[in-house]
């Protein structure tokens, strides 16, 4: 008996290295991703604070900062090259190394097998490889700050010629090369991850977990992974070509007649617009790669706190598919002012307005899920509700931008900056936090502090609006983005104080995140012990022991009998019916 039992026990790696460092366990890898993203967020957030410092008080001197950044802030005044590097690296870090890593790779890895009743990902070794590919990517990208010329300065979009001509600005040198290298590693890692996600979702579901019984977060993860897998490779192709423009003397993106110094560059015939097309062919789907899992988390956080099923499950799934398809054909809306044929512009505008329909359907499903709810305003619920608000606000701005006519006015102003921060910065960040408050008890076996959590929410939520809603108005007033200082423009004189106001709000926003950090690490050691199912939720991860052991389910995997949203089923013994409850106990609805 003993012998037979021990043969079935799952081999848990014993050495420290195999267990916590080079682990193939999806939960360890998920937490590794999450912590990596958190570290990168500290850097990215600091950069944002520096940007706001400059924009709020463009002429001021900061002697203390001169000591920390002797080159970038020599004499205490920020130099323009440093400013360009800051905005480039802030965007790059936040989009690829914080949100992608934390939300998609972090929560995705941790939750996916638990949500679908699997023991691990389909390819655990590949999973480990993908994490250890992204670590050097992080190191390389961060190292670029310290090389000759500083970090890349061509924006997160890496537009040529700034990104293609090595002598264009200081950051166009080694910094840009490292940027490309770091991104190449990131893409390789993200591709391995996406491949793993799709295969796992399709093939590793436990018995009874049909596709239409998947939690919506898993659906969003599936569509997002497919989008990533389709959209990143063309960017890789473009990056390879860019690398040869930089170091091989080719002319894919560089036209003739470029002067630098006294010299005419030898390139001829290339087109910078070609890069823009290839970049945005990735860039637009990428924003959905990030927003969809964030919406998935918001959707899944609602039912446990409204004690009722999510509204419109099927419609949401179909909308996800519609978004997936449409998001591949709207990239041109980032290029309305690039001189494209008006009919082409019209095509992209119509596509963009079309994509607002499935987006709005998901938004309305979120709102409709609140109808008749017995709302319990715990911290995760607050964050989910906040994400809905941000999604609506950002979407409203999107409609103005999606119309070529109004975008020509608004393009490259702070209106765009406000819009995309609500989306790619706001919805995703709130989902990331909400998810953390919600799954922390499962991950670490302790609860996070509610009081600090609520404080964190309200400070974040309000200061976020103060910063980014105000930016919409600055954009309407004509304030361009990516400018180092606005003090020389007379027409912008009236809004100088508004910039200072935004900066102060931004500092509040930054400081609020420290509350989260304190809460996170304090709760890790001191938080109240969590029960197995503290939110009285239905999904499979709450059936697993807390924290789940290697292999997740002990001897046998759970079997699923219903969809994940059976809350307040009439006649059920409780107001929640876990997915494992057989139909003999509570009738099955889906």
């Amino acid at each position: 008996m003993v012998g037979e039992h021990s043969a079935r026990v799952h081999e848990e790696p014993v050495s420290f290295w195999r267990r916590y460092i080079f682990s193939t366990d999806h939960k360890v890898i998920g937490i590794q991703y999450y912590l990596t993203a958190m570290a990168m967020a500290l850097v990215g957030g600091t950069l944002a604070m520096l940007i706001r410092l400059q924009l709020g008080w463009p002429e001021a001197k900061w002697p203390l900062l001169a000591k920390i950044f002797p080159r970038g802030m020599s004499g205490g005044v920020m130099n323009p090259d440093f400013y360009l590097a800051l905005i480039t690296m802030h965007g790059t870090l936040m989009i690829f190394f914080v949100i992608s890593l934390g939300l998609v790779s972090g929560f995705g890895n941790y939750l996916l097998p638990l949500h679908i009743g699997a023991r691990d990902m389909a390819f655990p070794f590949l999973n480990m490889l993908s994490y250890w590919t992204v670590v050097p990517a992080c190191v390389i990208i961060l190292a670029s700050f310290f090389v000759e010329g500083g970090a890349a300065a061509s924006g997160w979009t890496a537009y040529p010629p700034l990104s293609a001509v090595e002598q264009a600005v200081p950051g166009s040198g080694l910094g840009q090369t490292l940027w490309l290298l770091g991104m190449a590693l990131f893409i390789a890692s993200f591709t391995m991850g996406g491949l793993n996600f799709v295969t796992t979702i399709l093939n590793e579901r436990t018995r009874g977990m049909s596709m239409m019984r998947l939690p919506l977060f898993i659906w969003t993860l599936l569509i997002a992974s497919i989008l990533g897998l389709l959209a990143f490779p063309p960017l890789t192709a473009a990056a390879i070509l860019l690398l040869f423009d930089r170091h091989g003397g080719t002319s894919f993106f560089l036209p003739s007649g470029l002067y630098f110094g006294e010299r005419v560059l030898p390139h001829s015939g290339g087109s910078p617009l070609l890069w823009q097309h290839l970049f945005w062919f990735l860039g637009h789907p990428e924003v959905y790669v990030l927003i969809l899992p964030a919406l998935g988390i918001a959707l899944d956080l609602l039912p446990p706190f409204t004690r009722k099923p999510i509204f419109g499950y099927r419609l949401t799934v179909y909308s996800l598919f519609a978004i997936g398809v449409l998001s591949m054909i709207v990239w041109g809306h980032h290029m309305f002012v690039s001189g494209m044929n008006p009919y082409v512009g019209e095509f992209f505008a119509i596509g963009t307005l079309a994509i607002t329909i499935p987006s709005a359907i998901i938004g309305f499903n979120l709102i409709a899920s609140l109808w008749g709810a017995r709302l319990q305003l715990r911290t995760p619920a607050l964050f989910a509700l906040g994400a809905i608000a941000f999604f609506g606000t950002g979407g409203l701005g999107g409609i103005f931008l999606g119309n070529a006519t109004s975008d020509i006015q608004l393009h490259d102003t702070y209106f765009v900056v406000g819009h995309f921060h609500f989306m790619i910065g706001g919805v995703t960040l709130l989902a990331l936090f909400g998810g953390t408050y919600y799954w922390f008890p499962k991950m670490f076996g302790r609860m996070m502090s509610e009081r600090l959590g609520k404080l964190h929410f309200w400070l974040t939520f309000l200061s976020f609006y103060a910063v980014f809603l105000t930016q919409h108005f600055l954009g309407l007033g004509g304030m361009p983005r990516r400018y180092y200082a606005f003090s020389k423009f007379e027409f912008l004189a009236p809004i100088r104080d508004m910039n200072a106001f935004i900066s102060i709000a931004a500092f509040v926003l930054g400081a609020a995140q420290l509350i989260f950090l304190v809460n996170f690490f304090w709760s890790l050691f001191r938080g109240a012990r969590a029960e197995q199912n503290p939110w009285r939720a239905t999904t499979l991860e709450w059936v697993a022991p807390t924290p789940p052991p290697h292999g997740n389910w002990g001897e046998t995997v759970p079997e699923v009998h219903r969809w994940p949203y059976d809350y307040s089923v009439p006649g059920a013994p409780e107001d929640f019916t876990p997915q494992t409850v057989p139909p003999t106990v509570v009738t099955v609805t889906q």
Binding site: F123, L195, T199, T206, P233, T236, A237, T250, F252, P558
Partner: protein, 219 residues
Amino acid sequence: MKKPYAVETQPGRALWEVRLLGDLSGPPSEDGRRNGFNGPPERREGFPVPSARLGLWIFLGTVTMLFAGFTSAYLVRQAGPDWQPLPRPPILWVNTGVLLLSSVLLEIGRRRSASVHRWASGATALGVLFLLGQLLAWRALRAQGIYLPTNPHSSFFYILTGVHGAHVLGGVIALLSLLVLMWRGASEDRVCRRLALCATYWHFVGGLWLYLLLVLFLF
């Protein structure tokens, strides 16, 4: 506080029924182990395609998108004023034949399990030969004074053949590891599954090469 529901778990009796295609890891594994876990095989709601094969297809999808990206850049750049068509190095025909023959050998090997290692070795050798042939093509161009930056067509030629060559090299490495597996005397089952995956990939890079020839010299 009410008691939570009892955890209802699935008995470990069910078996995987049919194996449709080859597999490397994931559900239907030869000794009932999954992902390094002991215990009986578990029944899942998977697709009829085993994970390894599904993963391979998805990977090939990303490679397809990579070359789709290159193609669109190619078509755009080709419309530029400075495009000068490249003379086609004649050795490319030989290389094409070598790569296709290699695919054929692998396919024959799959059907003759007795002598499969010989056919697979032959296919691998031809793969290496193809790579050498591509290097010769580069040399031939360079001998005519045509380098990477000479004109956009030559830039694309070097880069596309280079990226394709890297994929062939990956295939050669996979084939070599297959040969090592055979040489070590792995179970026939395991070899078959690995061989099936290698063959799919190998035919894909063969097809990709035909496509590139078409794009580079016929459009």
